[in-house]
């Protein structure tokens, strides 16, 4: 009660690595919702008590009134925490559309509620219709462009290969100017390195 569970829920967010999604905490979330209902019940019963005593609900300032105020404020605090928790998750979920694409991998799906999965789908649709109205894809070019060509030095004899431009012979220690996309697989295999200057 009085916001303790809601605080726990938010601490969970604060402690998680920024930009990373944790599994939706159903148990704690439901507890906070329950807290809200409990506050509301108490609030109502205090108000009824004031009315039953024949006092004016607007002007009475007795202990019942202040008790009711505390329940009201606690309820609001819980609501704000719940919304902050949801909102924080939504920000990450939206960013996934840019980072991961339209289809979310199973391991991420599992961390979402059904409503969040629907949200992701609907939000993606909103973005897609914006892009199609604009006739411009926006999920590419996420980082500044680099020279499409790259200078590489060959580290192992690779021999004759067919690259997008033409047939090329890649011998150890030779230096070539290749398309970045052609060179990258060799670089990741350790067969070439980027050659500077």
């Amino acid at each position: 009660m009085y916001g303790r569970n809601a605080g726990k829920l938010l601490r969970e967010v604060a402690c998680s690595e920024s930009g990373h999604l944790t599994s939706f905490n159903n148990i704690l979330f439901d507890k906070v919702i329950q807290d809200c209902s409990e506050h509301h019940l108490q609030l109502q019963s205090l108000m009824r008590k004031i009315q039953d005593q024949g006092l004016d609900i607007q002007t009475t300032r007795n202990s019942d009134h202040f008790g009711a105020v505390i329940h009201h404020l606690s309820l609001i605090r819980n609501k704000r925490c719940l919304m902050a928790y949801m909102n924080h998750r939504l920000e990450i979920i939206r960013s996934l559309r840019w980072k991961v694409g339209r289809e979310l991998p199973e391991e991420i799906q599992q961390k979402l509620t059904q409503s969040e999965r629907d949200y992701f789908k609907n939000h993606s649709l909103a973005l897609e219709s914006y892009m199609s109205e604009l006739d411009l894809e926006l999920t590419v070019d996420m980082v500044p462009p680099k020279d499409p060509y790259i200078q590489v030095r060959v580290l192992e004899d690779i021999g004759d290969v067919l690259l997008s431009s033409a047939q090329t012979t890649l011998l150890r220690h030779s230096v070539h100017s290749l398309r970045r996309s052609d060179a990258e697989p060799y670089i990741s295999q350790g067969l070439m390195e980027e050659f500077l200057g």
Binding site: I33, C36, R80, M83, N122, L125, E133, L138, P148, Y149
Partner: protein
Amino acid sequence: MSYWEDEDPLVASTIPDVERLKRAWRNEKAAPEIFQFQAELVQRAREQVQLQEDNITVMQAEGTDDLTLSLYQMDLDRTLFLLRSYLRTRLHKIEKYMIHISKTELWDRLSEHEQGFVKRCTDAFEDHLEQSVLSHLPYGYQSILKQSISSEEDDMVPEPKLDAFVFCRSKGTIGAFQLDETGEEIVDLVEDDLYVLRYKSIKALVETGQIDLV
């Protein structure tokens, strides 16, 4: 050292659009709130991109050398990045403040397509929160805009923080500039100097192009 630092109206017409786009991109990225959509600039930039794409196709057909082609491609890629990143930066702000934007004069700063995007986004957002949180809360506490029925204003809507501090650079000497309403805070804005100031105090100067955010 940049190409066209000059904002003199006489030479303003010589500032290339890509340079204007860079400025719009930078300001949009650095400001807490969304600026007026640069409709004509975006339109012109897209025309130039289209034209250059066509040129490259023609040059390829004519057998222009790889060197020249790759340089033109790089120029094109750079422009496309700026254009996309500018539009993305706006979308990000729109996503963050969609409800606030649709209820204030900020709405008019959006392009028609962005307005459509806000509507769809807001629907998805409201549906989700309605279903997951708000409908489970007691009566009187179910509004997405207000904390409770007794709130007079919409006190649950995230708004851009206009008193956030920003880094900015004055393009010309503006002189003594008043930062607050009471006139107690005055700063001397000298050409090319860098300042860290509250965004709302120099908002007008950014909008008129006298100051750039960096």
